[in-house]
Structure formats: structure tokens, C-alpha cells
């Protein structure tokens, strides 16, 4: 990804930021949906700082190691060196900075932000309040910040980006209907922008859902596309694996636990590998995207954040769908999951569908899973209905 795109490639809001926002006057919080260019503006900010103050001491504080790798590659591409660290590393240090630039700020704790503010003259953060999927920090066991806390702790001004470039118009339309209060603006429309096909697939049972998903996902990886099956919880993930194994005519996996008494997904992944199944669990250090011969990835909604795939399958979207005890978090996580898809999004359910699908179900194409699996999809007249 070219992070420092030339100015003629910026959209109107991004250009407004570059032209009018003075980062030395006041701290800034760049808000915006995924794909709205928050990171691009952080890169611009970095370039601007280095041009005006080559000796300025700058820290880039991010949420995960994968984000460090991403920023490092991007800054190296720009020819700019930067001190990039996780927020844990930042908190372990005591250096002061002229500038701290930080991404995914909505998932950090208040103490981290307060420390940034005290150890830097200027703080520029990026993040989206609608994407906050953690209620507390796992290491510090402190609550993550609310939007108003970000503003007050950093004493910052907001700059909101609303034009989403990464998502297709069909996904944006579905998100707008699912979360109507979001401030999304129309991105450029032209013939080069593809839509994401959203298919609402109705099955007779969870097993049938698993069978259909495996059939379609295997076809996807067989032609070199990426496919991910996203599931709300670990327990449901295990259930899905067992149903998928049954659907593929294999024995179920005898569950093995690791030394901490949790499911050992390494063992599950090697069981799948041994049985020649192109399927793996990804998350919490298990599985890998870089393995040869594309595999279908199964992961939680949480783990999928920040990633995208050609094909995304969301099974189990029935009336009994449970994601989280917090309704706000449930909706956010569901939105994160449905926005991971580039080309095809399959929403599958058995029995009555979840209320989460109600607002945009009318815009989806419908698949009767039972018919597809039994091959009863041919329209009357057989295979030669068009004389072709």
C-alpha cells in the first residue's frame, strides 16, 4: 500500500487536513471508519514533521506488533525513519518526545493516553470510536477509553474522515442500514469500483450451513482467493470445526487441551493438515497467513479486525446469535466482521434469521442452501434453457 500518496490522490477531507490542520497549535484526533485514510494522514503528518523539524524526536505508538511491521514498512518506503513501538513498550520507557503519533487509539487505556500527553509536546492520534472492540486492556486490566475521555485526556480537536475508500458501495450501504447514525459520506463512484456480493443463505440446520460454507470456501481457495470463516466465540469455533470435519466425511477431532487447560489449536491445525484439509484456526498466535497453499482461515470476529479477505463467511446468524453481553460491543463486532470482505460476503443462518440482518436483508441476493447442495437449482427445462 502506498501510504504517502501524492496530494492529487487525496480526497477532499484528507486535503483539508493537510492544508488546514495545525498540529502544533493543538493535539489532534483523526477519526474515521476503516479505509477512510487515517493512517495515510498519520504518514503525511510524519513527513510534515520531518520536513519542518528534521531533529524532532517522534514516537509512533501502535496497538499490535503487526501494526508495527506495517508502519515500519510504510515509513521505510517513504524514506522516513521512525521510532515505532507498541503502547506497552511506550509505557515501559520514560523518554520524552516532541511528537507522539498513535493509531487505533480507541483500544488503549486512559493511562496510556495521559502518559502520551505528559511525555510529548504534541500528540496526534488516529482511531475510530465505532470500532472499539475491547472493553478492557488484557495486560493492565484497565478499561479502554471512551470517546469523551480521548478528547478530554488529550485536550484535542477532532478531525473526522467520512469518505470510505476501502469498502465497496454495497457493504457501505449495509453498514449504513445496520448502524444508521454513522457519519459516512459518498466515496467516488465509477466503473472501477467493484461491489461486494452479499448473499443471504438460508439452511435447514447448522450442519447444512457448515457443509455449504466448506463447499464454497474450498472453491475459493482452490482458485487462489482468500477465504475466512468468522465466528463470534471460541466455543462456537470448535463446534464449527467439528461440523466441517463431519461435512467433509472425516472423523471429529478429539479435543486436546494445552498446559493452561485451553483448547490446543496447534494440535487441531496439525490434525487438519494430516487429514489434507485446507482449513486452519488463526488467532492468539495460532495459524499463519503465510503458509503455502492457501487455507481457509477460521477466526473470531475479534481476531479479524484490521484484516480483509476476498470471501468472508459468517455462519450461525440465526435468531439465537450471541456475540457479547454488551449490545454496543455486539453490534460493533458484527460490523467489524461484515466489513472484512472484498468480493463475496456470505451470511448464513438456519431457522429464523437474526434481527441484525433485518435492516439490509432486502438488498442481499438469496440462496436456498438446501437446493444448492441437492443440485435442485436448475430452472425448469433442464440445462439447455437458453439453447446454449
Amino acid at each position: 500500500m502506498a501510504w504517502l500518496v501524492p496530494e492529487n490522490m487525496l480526497d477532499d477531507q484528507q486535503r483539508d487536513f493537510v492544508e488546514n490542520v495545525d498540529i502544533n497549535q493543538r493535539n489532534v484526533w483523526i477519526k474515521g471508519f476503516p479505509g477512510s485514510g487515517k493512517s495515510v494522514l498519520l504518514a503525511y503528518t510524519m513527513k510534515r514533521i520531518k520536513r519542518k523539524e528534521p531533529n524532532a524526536k517522534v514516537a509512533v505508538v501502535v496497538f499490535t506488533h503487526s501494526l508495527i511491521a506495517m508502519f515500519k514498512a510504510a515509513f521505510a518506503e517513504m524514506g522516513v525513519s521512525a521510532n515505532i513501538m507498541t503502547y506497552y513498550e511506550f509505557m515501559d520507557g520514560s523518554s520524552n518526545y516532541d511528537y507522539v503519533l498513535s493509531d487505533e487509539v480507541q483500544d488503549m487505556t486512559g493511562r496510556v493516553l495521559a502518559t502520551m500527553n505528559s511525555r510529548a509536546k504534541h500528540v496526534i492520534v488516529a482511531g475510530d470510536e465505532n470500532q472499539s472492540i475491547y472493553e478492557s486492556d488484557p495486560k493492565y486490566r484497565e478499561a479502554t477509553v471512551s470517546p469523551s475521555q480521548i478528547t478530554s485526556l488529550l485536550n484535542c480537536r477532532d478531525f473526522e474522515l467520512g469518505i470510505i475508500h476501502r469498502l465497496s458501495s454495497s457493504i457501505i450501504a449495509a453498514v449504513e442500514k445496520f448502524m444508521p447514525n454513522m457519519n459516512i459520506f459518498t466515496a467516488r463512484r465509477d466503473m472501477t469500483k467493484r461491489t461486494t456480493q452479499i448473499r443471504l443463505c438460508s439452511a435447514n440446520s447448522a450442519e447444512q450451513e457448515a457443509k455449504y460454507i466448506m463447499k464454497e470456501a474450498q472453491r475459493a481457495v482452490n482458485i487462489g482467493e482468500t477465504a475466512a470463516i468468522l465466528i463470534p466465540s471460541q466455543q462456537k469455533i470448535l463446534d464449527f470445526f467439528q461440523m466441517a470435519l463431519t461435512a467433509l466425511g472425516k472423523s471429529q477431532w478429539p479435543v486436546q487441551l494445552n498446559r493452561w487447560g485451553k483448547v490446543d489449536y496447534n494440535k487441531l491445525n496439525s490434525y487438519l493438515r494430516t487429514n489434507g484439509i485446507k482449513l486452519q484456526y488463526v488467532g492468539n498466535g495460532y495459524g499463519s497467513f503465510t503458509e503455502d497453499g492457501g487455507k481457509i482461515c477460521v477466526m473470531t470476529y475479534h481476531s479479524s479486525k484490521g484484516l480483509d479477505f476476498d470471501n468472508v463467511f459468517l455462519p450461525g446468524l440465526s435468531q439465537s446469535l450471541y456475540i457479547n453481553s454488551s449490545e454496543r460491543l455486539s453490534r460493533t463486532l458484527f460490523m467489524v466482521a461484515m466489513t472484512r470482505s472484498r468480493n463475496n460476503l456470505y451470511l448464513t443462518h438456519s431457522g429464523s434469521r437474526s434481527a441484525y440482518l433485518s435492516n439490509f436483508a432486502g438488498d442481499c441476493s438469496r440462496i436456498n442452501v438446501s437446493d444448492v447442495l441437492s443440485g435442485q437449482t436448475t430452472t425448469s427445462g433442464g440445462g439447455n434453457i437458453f439453447g446454449i
Partner: protein, 522 residues
Amino acid sequence: MKNYLALIRRADFIDFFKFGFFYLNSDKVVEFDCPISELPKRDDIYDALFARINSFESSFAYQIINFTKANDADDPSVVTITEVKHIFPLDLEAKREYESSFDEHVKIDNPIWPDAISLIKKKQLYQSSMQGVRNIFNIFKLEGIEKCKELISEDTVEEMLSNVYDDIRPSGDVSLWVYLMRYERHSFYPKESLGYFMDIVHIIVNFMSRKEVEDYIVESTDIYKILATYEGKGYKSHEILHLLRQNEMASGFLTKIASFVPDVDFILVAVNYLKMRDLYKDEFTYNEKFISACKASFGESFTIASYMIGIALGHDKTYACLYESLPLAIYKSKEEMAAIVLRKQEERERAKREMERIERERERERELEQERRKGGKKKGKKNTEYSPFGQSGYSQGRGGYPTWGPQSEESFPPYQGDDQGYIPSSMGRGYQHETPKQEPKTKKGVSHAATSNETGNLFGKEELQEMEIQTRKLISFPLTLQKYTKSGKPSTAKNSTAVVNNKEEYQNFLNTHSGETWKPKK
């Protein structure tokens, strides 16, 4: 009093608001004489305003301002912020955007013509597509745009792009070319030549079904099943075409296509188009060898496919390549660009090394910090005392929010945007101190926008209008100096004028004539 509308760019409005005055392009100023509520019916005003609007991306790139001039003789192209009475966004989305990003005191009205954006953007999309065609023909060195237009008319293109803008997928009785151009693959067809043939079957099934269908419907056709038998064999397009022509069961498919599009080889055009669309989906680049080979192999079919690719990519995706191929007069030479690429490569390498060094340093710092923390409180306190940015309001070890202190109030200057003293008097908030002190005659107060012209020369309108003349009066070297008598009159004596060519000469001259009075002659 005269009433005007003007279309200005968002960035210009921000400068206008910030500096208080603005020079408008007089072509873009439209006078009107009806109540604002009647403007939506005034097509003549709409046409005059939008006649020569430049291309833009978002609806909030432009806005319409309404301003008045108290004196009919006043130049309407010089406007002060106090003369602005309304800001009209181009649509409701723009209104929402301005309200979330402009200074919150600024009142944004509803759009005058809510459908303006849709009409303008559709026109621009069409213009961009047709320019894309010209760009492609220029870059590929092709001829025959007119012939292509006979096949796929401009009206068809315009209608198709209107649906693209409105996000309407093709359906019903539209041309097969439209089904081809709008087709998107959402099926798992092989990513090789065979896949394009399956796409073509899908397109034909869409066309005949008069709507876009799911892949399992396509997969149930006999022709698809024939194609499926070729999977994994790595056939090239011409081999697949040959096999189909040999296959009796496939003849119905080929005959059907020929009946839809009798004058051209639809399959060849479609394969070329779909292949190019995939090739250029991320970036459009020109490979002379490849294009020459395509031209030689596919002739007219390639030209038609290029016409469609021009429509699909538009000017936006092709201009970089066109500018390079011309090249533009403002472009750097290839040698200069090669040097820039080399320099950037060096910068990248340097940045990588520097980041590795920073990481090592941070690791050392972390170790030291850990040692320091183990070492006890005293040492730690000493460190924070040397902090150039002051101590954190957060008290380490207690956790929770309430201990974050008021450090930010001292660290950052108050935001002047919230300072009432900075509010221009025309904003109608009625603060006592907003009445301009230099205009004590103003009686009607700042809340009446319609009369705020009477606040007088708040932004020095006369000076603004005369600024051009003034600039001509400014002195510049070489400078003619005039000697003045003790009574203050210009001297008429011999050597009472002198010429100096630069600042130094001027300074020397004044030093050597310190007892006399010399002034620059205007």
C-alpha cells in the same frame, strides 16, 4: 442593494472566513432579484452558476454563497465576510460535512437545488469516461473511435454511467455491451483464459435472463458444462475458441451470440476487455510490446475492447500514463526522474538502518529503565525532575481515571476558535463587544444580517478594491530620489534628483546626504 450568488470552493471559503475578504472570479458571480425561496425554480440562475464548474470529487468541494452589496456600483467580485448572508451546500451530505468540520458558529442552510450534485456528477462521470477513451486511443495509438461509437453509442454510455452513479445494477432490456461492461465476477471461475469464457457464458445468461443471476444457474447450462471439461488443461483463448467451434453441442451458444451481435466477434472483444480490466485493476500502465501484439492478433476486436476499457477507466485512471507518454511540458526529464528514484531508494535504505538503530537504542533504554525502577523511588524521581515537558498528571500505581491532572491546560495554548473575541461581528450572536468600535454610527446591531453592510468598512472594502492600484504605487528599484527644501517643497535646483539601483546604494546615498531631505519619487 443588490443580491448575488457565487459558487466557491470549500478551501477558498475557509480562506475567506479566515482572512475576512475574498476576490471572486467575476464569471462565477450571478446577480438575482427574487426571494431566496424562489431560487429552486430559477433554472436560468442554476445554469449560470454551474455552467463552467470544474470537475470535483465530493459534494462538499463547492458551496454557494449568497452576498449583498449595499451600493449598486460596488464591485461584486470583491466580497467581505460581513456581506455574506447565506451559505448553501450543494446537497444534504455536504451540509452534514460542513456542520461537522467548519467553525461551529457558521450556519449552513439547506441546499437550493438538491439534485444538482447528481446531475453534475453524472455529467462529469460521462466526460471523464469519454476522455478516458481518447487517452487510451492516444496511448495505444489506435484509430476508429467513431466506429466504436456506432456500436456502443454515447447515449448508451451516458445511460449506463448514470446507473453506475446511482448504484443500479443492469437489468431489463439493456444492450449486451452494457451487461458486458458492468459485469463483475463473484463466482469461483478459474483465474486463466478459461475463466473469461465462463464469464462470457455468465454475461450471456444475464443478458438473456434480463438480470444478473447467481453462478449456480450459469453452472447448470450445457455450455458451462462443456467449458468445465477443459479445466486444469491450461488452454489459451484461441485454443478454447477452436475447441468450441469444433464441438457440436457448443454451436448453439456461438450461433446465439452471433445473432445478438452480428457485426463483430463478441467473444474476442469480451475476452480482450475482461483481460485488460483485470490487468489494469490496480494501476494502468503501458506496455508497448504487449499492446502491439494485441493489435496484431485481434485487430478490430482489440480496438472495441480498448474503447470499453477507456470508458471503464476514465480519465482519472489513465491521465498519469497519458501525461508520461506526451510528455507534459511541466514534467521532469527521464534522467531527472531516474535520479529521483535512485535518491528515494537511498533514503529508504537509510531509513531502514536508522529504524534498526532506534530499536536497539530503545531496547537499551528499556533495560536501563527496568534497572532504574528496581533501584528505588529516589532515582526515578530525579529523572522526572529533568523532564522538559513537566510531570505527568497521572500518579503511577494508583490506576483509574480520576488522577489525570490538569496538565493539559498548561501544556497547550487555549484554542482561539472558542474565544468570543475572535468571532466576526456578522455571525449574529449578539455579544455586546462585537459592535465594531470603529463604527459607532451602527445602530441596528449585529444580529440583522441584512443590514450588516452598514457596519461599514470593517474589512476596508475600498482599500481592497484599490489594492491593485496601490501595488503599482509601491516603490521598487531602481529608485528615483527627490530632494526637498527646508520648507518641505520639492527642490527644483540642479542635482535635486538622483537614482539608486539597490538597497545598498540607497542606504549609502542617505548616509552621504544626511543633512538633506531626500524622499523616493512616486
